[in-house]
Subunit: 362 residues, 2 copies
């Protein structure tokens, strides 16, 4: 294939073409330095400007209050599953988790592995995680409440965040970060691997309420597991994932300057999802798998009425230039991920293909 | 500056131009997938081939025995400073460290921070780390002996590795990994951030003797801090730093196919260093700072007899297309890093500039 395809991958996922073109154009010579971005010191002024710009763009896009910090970390959400309880739960402390699927379960399991006092305040496991729990039995003494804002595997999403009575949310926002505005004040910690809406795998964006940097100061842990290390050193205690930060800065520039910010991005994302869910709902040939009220705007999960057509559907879609439509191996079926960089043109092409496929096979 | 410069950066550092050109050429469409390498799933066959090739190239280049594993991790050497003692030292265990500079000290401090029983078996601190200790008082009951194979700040390098009486070396090889053949059998663990001789920052190459995966199995630690997690999941427990692995694979392909392996690379590196040290030694105008027997082939540290000319030297060198010559801020002076991708042509240009500078200023 010599042309670019429409990319519905669940992550790593589509990036804006204009960003990739800029990365390509300056790969051999970054800002007239005579060196690639891959070859310059993280302590250079050139990289310092990239890092500061990335931090400031994140502050503006999230509309962060002054008492929040932006950190760039490695290790993905899976490392955050451990860092959050290590940093926030001292002896005698406890936290609540809400279970909405595989990743929420993994976050909980990492806290229990570390011997932390955590419990589920709510779960939709008895409904196969096809929905978001409608209410949670939140412990008023919990230090935080952990949620997964969007569930890539099951295709559900918190449309509004739970009322915790002022207890800060700790949120795995991997798969919908920067897809819509967020009421940051409800959150104590937001973390997200970059590889959906922000950039390359290997970079984690973390937003933390600054008082929480000091919640468990005496705990023994590696220096790089402590949020305060990143805050004190502006994410440069050691060499950061420079290329990831560089791409993320460009993606956030695209969001601010080409898209117009998160309100505008949210409108585009809502329109894309509405178009695709509308097409699914217009026929019995395709069947959405998530409860309608909790449908994700990022990951549209569906089955074909004739299950044995699904492999053919995915294969023919790819041949037609529509990639990444296979559902997660743990649930099967189909999934179209509609992250920020997957445009309405991609959705229109998918809808047209789906109609044609139904006509031929239905 | 519209041309590429000669890059003597200490890390992130120069990469082979042919590698950067390939990365650039396929940035929008990796292997006819219609997607960038940044946009494809880490679980795809396409990426699986990249990962397997990177692992196999590392095995061949290091000539690894069957009982060693190659792991790709995030977090840099600074995370390894913690992971090694966490994974290898259980209750009652102890380890020896040899102190040859800033990074060796940091490795030791991380072990003590975690409450591990470690001590220095040797140190060159009383000689301002200008040399490698000639002998070490190694505890025969130590589980491992930690060394830093090359010291970027002070410009020293272990030319031959210490005799430990069979105790495995745990080695921070950040700044000379893949620059020369290594007698792997002496080592239990080799770790190195990619950003000198392998690729982009944000990737750590780890080589581990497989029995050591099981040395401290009952310790409580985050899943991602355990080497066995990476070994069991072929470095894919969670999303790996895909782009870093992709570039590293290309750099190792260059080493194998263009250079001809580590023996050939070592000869080239020795010739480059000999040329530059020869130029330093031919005049009193420049003064090498490391003990002659322990001089690093990777980082040539030097001062100008007239200290107040150093800033001018560095500035004029950059204007002449020779970048990255400033010494580490903790020691000052000058430093030319001669990693694999910095060729003899760069060294010849530097030597010519140095002669001309001396003539004008001397």
């Amino acid at each position: 294939m010599t042309e670019r395809i429409h990319n519905f991958n669940p992550g790593p996922a589509a990036l804006p073409l204009s960003v990739l073109e800029k990365v390509q154009a300056e790969m051999l010579n970054f800002r007239d330095s005579g060196m690639s971005i891959l070859e310059i010191s993280h302590r250079s002024d050139l990289f310092g400007e990239v890092l500061a710009s990335a931090r400031n763009r994140a502050r503006r896009l999230f509309n962060l209050p002054d008492n929040y910090r932006v950190l760039f970390i490695q290790g993905g959400a899976s490392l955050q599953f451990a860092m959050a309880p290590m940093n926030f739960l001292g002896t005698g402390d406890r936290a609540d988790y809400i279970n909405t699927g595989t990743w929420a379960t993994k976050a909980f399991e990492q806290a229990t592995l570390l011997g932390k006092n955590v419990r589920y305040a709510a779960s939709s496991e008895d409904q196969s995680f096809s929905c978001i729990p409608t209410k949670a039995d939140i412990d008023t003494g919990a230090r935080y409440v952990h949620i997964t804002s969007n569930n890539t595997i099951r295709g559900t999403q918190w449309r509004t965040y739970p009322d915790t009575g002022g207890i800060p949310l700790v949120c795995d926002m991997c798969s919908d970060m920067l897809s819509r505005p967020v009421p940051v004040e409800k959150f104590g910690l937001i973390y997200a691997g970059a590889q959906k809406n922000l950039g390359p795998a290997g970079l984690t964006l973390v937003i933390i309420r600054e008082d929480m940097l000091l919640w468990n100061p005496d705990a023994v842990m590696p220096t790089l597991m402590r949020y305060k290390t990143y805050s004190d050193h502006y994410s440069m205690y050691n060499t950061p994932p420079c290329f990831g930060i560089y791409v993320a800065e460009k993606v956030m520039a695209w969001l601010e300057e080409d898209i117009g910010g998160l309100e505008a991005m949210a409108s585009l994302n809502a329109a894309k999802a509405e178009r695709l869910y509308g097409a699914l709902d217009a026929t019995d040939f395709y069947q959405g798998t998530a409860a309608e009220a909790d449908r994700s705007l990022m990951n549209v999960t569906f089955r074909l009425r004739h299950r044995d057509l699904e492999a053919i559907f995915i294969k023919e879609a790819l041949a037609a230039g529509l990639g990444g439509l296979k559902g997660h191996k743990s649930v099967g079926g189909c999934r179209a991920s509609l992250y920020n960089a997957t445009g309405m043109d991609a959705v229109e092409s998918l809808v047209a293909f789906m109609k044609n496929f139904e006509k031929r096979m239905g």
